[in-house]
């Protein structure tokens, strides 16, 4: 039995109202590649944030034993000084700095008041060689592709003298070849004695590199599989990831009436606005009928939000091609205003960031997307506006002392209701709901589900984008599965199960 490098013992981390981690145990041996798998929100990233000191010692319960010592990390620097380095999913490089500058950001060579640039670049080149990059360290980061940027991140971690390297979804933005090269590099490091933890959704990759696999579900560690002894087939892992009690969390819809096709999107392709050669939506065709709830399931970064926003008046992306047909008529929407006029609504994923104006009242937020209906010659009928806001507060049972209350003072669930009210008041035919229940409690979720059902019953077409599988399964009439910018599967809800949806994603990840 090899020496244990890291042991996390009964880690419990609670956020207000949510238990994100519940008695999690993790044991990593020296020189192994340990994989963490689980659904979005299962608690993988939280666990790694506890380990790296992003959530400082004292904000969680349990012990971290590293190299035989109990550790109390108060900030990232503390864990990094011990050789624990985390590489986040989102690349954190500054585009307009050179590779060398990025690599030693916050870890500068030379003296504090006098950076030694010669040393910086010569060391940077040395680490770049270790990760197999031949580019000069004086190249600007914006000039290299994402595959190489990921390698720079790793080189940056090596420069911090990493002994335990944590890679959070390292291949999520890479193509097949780059991914494979990265995984091989990990195996190479292993030979040199490096210990690594990899978080990944791509089970084939996990099976390729990992020695042990720990499965996390709903904030608890379910099991740890040893790749040499146990069965690590994808089916086996998926079962561990998703098996759970499906109780009555979703309201049933009575007499579902599904009408004609309301909206159809054909061969929709969208490019990234900055990395203009990257396709974020690739040849997607979907449709939604009157009175139907269509789920789009996909992991984060699959291109779901990009698809929705590009449909909604081209509010995201460039080089958009494809056909959009509303009620049988092809339309070309040029702006959100235009989209709203064509009776489309997009309820954004990030209600605080781009859904609501937090410093404004419920009243002003409710009327925002359809102010014209409340005004004559641009003069707002403020009495009517008040009435509308009150009506929606009652209808959606938003908990608030008055409609003059600032939205920023409401709880997440009530904010979500105001956001829904805003778009319901815009009187759309098609509602695209992007993660409508993210970060809200179970009770509020149920109420949101009821609202969705009511909308469908009223003949609206609803597209429900979610990364929560049970939600998609519980709410949809039909499900699209999206992965890596493409629609990789479509099935009626009656045929869909957690297992075969995950299987769709895994299959597409392998390029089958």
């Amino acid at each position: 039995m090899a020496e244990v490098l890291l042991e996390m013992k009964s880690i419990t981390k609670t956020f207000p109202g949510v238990k994100a981690l519940d008695n999690v145990n993790l044991k990593v041996e020296k020189g192994e590649i340990h994989a963490l798998v689980g659904e979005n929100g299962a608690g993988k990233s939280t666990l790694m944030n506890v380990l790296s000191g992003i959530y400082p010692y004292g904000t969680y319960d349990g012990d971290i034993i590293y190299n035989g010592n109990v550790c109390q990390f108060h900030k990232i620097k503390d864990s990094e000084s011990q050789g624990i380095v985390i590489i986040h999913q989102e690349l954190a490089l500054v585009p307009y700095m050179t590779i060398g500058e990025n690599m030693f950001l916050g870890n500068e060579r030379g003296k504090k008041y006098n950076i030694d640039w010669n040393l910086t670049y010569s060391e940077a080149d040395k680490y770049l060689k270790m990760v197999g990059l031949s580019d000069s360290s004086k190249t600007l980061v914006k000039d290299i592709g994402t595959g190489k940027q990921q390698l720079v991140e790793i080189a940056k971690a090596l420069a911090k003298h990493a002994k335990l390297l944590i890679l959070d979804e390292p291949t999520s933005s890479l193509n097949e070849t780059d991914s494979r090269a990265l995984l091989d590099l990990m195996l190479e490091f292993k030979k040199n004695g490096m210990t690594m933890i990899i978080i990944s959704h791509k089970l084939n990759e996990v099976a390729y590199v990992a020695d042990k696999i720990t499965i996390i579900r709903d904030g608890s560690t379910i099991e740890t599989l040893d790749c040499k002894k146990d069965d690590i087939s994808e089916d086996r892992i998926i079962k561990g990831m998703v098996a759970r009690e499906m109780t009555d969390r979703f309201p049933k819809r009575k007499d579902v009436k599904i009408g004609e096709t309301m909206m159809e999107v054909k061969n929709w392709t969208v490019y990234h606005p900055e990395f203009t050669e990257r396709k974020v939506v690739d040849d997607v065709s979907i449709n939604v009928k009157k009175g139907e709830v269509v789920g789009i399931y996909g992991l984060m970064g699959a291109g779901r939000t990009e698809l929705a926003m590009s449909i909604f008046g081209r509010s995201y992306g460039i080089g958009i091609t494809g056909e959009l047909i509303l009620n049988g008529v092809p339309v070309h929407l040029t702006s959100p205003k235009n989209a709203i006029a064509h009776k489309l609504a997009y309820v954004t994923e990030d209600r605080k960031g781009n859904g609501l104006v937090l410093s404004n009242s419920i009243k002003h937020n409710t009327s925002l997307a359809n102010l014209d209906a409340l005004s004559k010659n641009k003069v707002i009928d403020q009495d009517k506006e008040y009435e509308v806001a009150v009506e929606y507060v009652k209808k959606l049972r938003t908990k608030t002392p008055s409609v003059e209350q600032n939205v920023g003072n409401l709880s997440g669930g009530n904010q979500q209701k105001v956001l829904l009210a805003k778009w319901m008041f815009a009187d759309p035919d098609v509602l695209i709901l992007d993660e409508p229940t993210r970060g809200i409690d179970v009770g509020a979720k149920y109420e949101i589900y009821c609202i969705i059902n009511d909308l469908a019953a009223a003949g609206k077409s609803v597209i429900l984008i979610s990364s929560e599988l049970p939600e998609v399964l519980g709410m949809s009439d039909r499900i699209y599965i999206m992965n890596a910018s493409k629609i990789v599967g479509e099935m009626p809800a009656s045929e869909a199960t957690q297992e075969n949806i995950m299987a769709c994603i895994v299959k597409s990840g392998r390029g089958e």
Partner: protein, 397 residues
């Protein structure tokens, strides 16, 4: 906490309370000299441009804390152009234009600058403070150059009386010390009008079952508003009558108060400043809003420039110096958010008046110019700190 108890009403109108306290302080310190008809008139005449530029700056700041640094220098250029066109001078000896043509051209220049500036900020996405810093520098140079070339004294005077009459002086003029009847009558009409408006608004709210102010608040609010209007007008009545500048200010404040408070245009400005992404995804044309803010600012700058030029009956190269800072200060002291999305015309008016009272009071007390600047700086900072602390306090509740 109920929104209609005395404490919260006072808290909501904190700046008004501060204004009253400061005013009483200066009455005491100047032996009542600040409370004379002449100084009432001075207060309005000296600060007319602050209100006009302040309301333009308010619209810019609403869109996200954006400012216009160029308006002060632009005031100088516009004054110079007005002088060059309407008064015989060393550059323009032959083609002296009449007042309507002069105004047409000056407003035309304002609109052209507004379009260019708004275009650069809204469509080319040049940060507003950089785009307007260019104007701040260039217009000061241009204005000075034009005036130096036009006159040996670097100032154009002898503006045509027709032009001066539109932007300065008093209407229904009487001798100082004599009660001016039209002025008092207008004051009475305005005061009664405001009270009736208050009563009707409250009645409507009650009739429709909305939350309305309690009776005591309605009565005290009406009394205070009517008293202030009457006080100002009676004071002015004893110093010659209604200043033309006051009419300009009052009309523009009423128009912009309405636009900001009651129309979709005002709401769009607030929303863009409150959350630009939300605004965009709610179908608001953010670029058009930014464009409008700066076009509007340039047009208001024309009016401010003509008011100032007419008041001094001269265009000179130092005219408009620091006007942009006065306008920004008025907004900040008046509770306009430096980050955008919040602020009212009434707040800005109170802020501008407060700064004006402090200026006038200190001058009457004979305080040194340099110390006046120190005090103004401290007041500005105190207003912002107060604003942030009170917001923090609200959150804790």
């Amino acid at each position: 906490m109920k929104s209609t108890d005395l404490r919260s009403v006072l808290k909501k109108n904190m700046m008004t309370v501060v204004l009253v306290v400061v005013y009483i302080f200066f009455i005491a310190m100047t032996n009542g000299r600040i409370f004379t008809p002449e100084n009432f008139n001075n207060l309005i005449a000296q600060n007319a441009y602050v209100f006009i530029l302040g309301v333009g700056m308010l619209m810019c700041m609403l869109t996200g804390g954006n400012i216009d640094l160029s308006c002060g220098s632009f005031v100088c250029v516009l004054g110079a152009v007005a002088g060059l066109l309407s008064v015989e001078n060393q550059i323009n000896k032959t083609l002296v234009l009449n007042t309507p043509l002069t105004l047409l051209i000056v407003f035309g220049i304002g609109i052209i600058y507004g379009v260019v500036l708004g275009g650069m900020i809204a469509f080319l996405k040049i940060p507003p403070w950089i785009a307007t810093l260019a104007g701040y520098l260039a217009f000061r140079g241009l204005g000075t150059e034009l005036l130096t070339k036009a006159s040996a004294t670097s100032a154009i005077t002898n503006f045509p009386p027709a032009l001066l009459a539109i932007f300065s002086g008093t209407i229904f003029k009487t001798d100082s010390g004599v009660a001016n009847i039209p002025c008092i009558l207008l004051g009475a009409v305005a005061a009664v009008g405001v009270v009736i408006m208050n009563i009707i608004t409250r009645k409507n709210k009650i009739a429709k079952g909305y939350e309305a102010d309690p009776k005591w608040l309605l009565i005290s609010k009406s009394i205070i508003e009517a008293t202030v209007i009457m006080l100002v007008m009676v004071m002015l009545a004893f110093d010659g009558g209604i200043p033309v500048a006051l009419i300009w200010v009052a009309v523009i404040m009423v128009i912009y108060g309405f636009v900001c408070g009651k129309t979709t245009i005002g709401r769009h400005f607030m929303t863009v400043g409150g959350n630009a992404e939300t605004a965009r995804l709610s179908g608001i044309n953010n670029k058009l809003v930014m464009f409008g803010a700066y076009l509007n600012m340039a047009v208001l700058t024309v009016i401010a420039s003509l008011l100032v030029t007419s008041r001094f009956q001269a265009a000179n190269s130092s005219s408009g110096t620091n006007f942009e800072m006065d306008a920004i200060s008025a907004c900040i002291v008046g509770g306009v958010s430096a980050y955008g999305g919040a602020g009212t015309v009434m707040g800005m008016v109170i802020g501008a008046t407060l700064i004006g009272v402090i200026n006038l009071g200190m001058s009457l007390m004979g305080i040194d110019q340099n110390w006046q600047k120190v005090v103004k700086g401290v007041v500005l900072l105190a207003a912002v700190v107060f604003d942030i602390l009170s917001k923090k306090g609200n959150k804790k509740q």
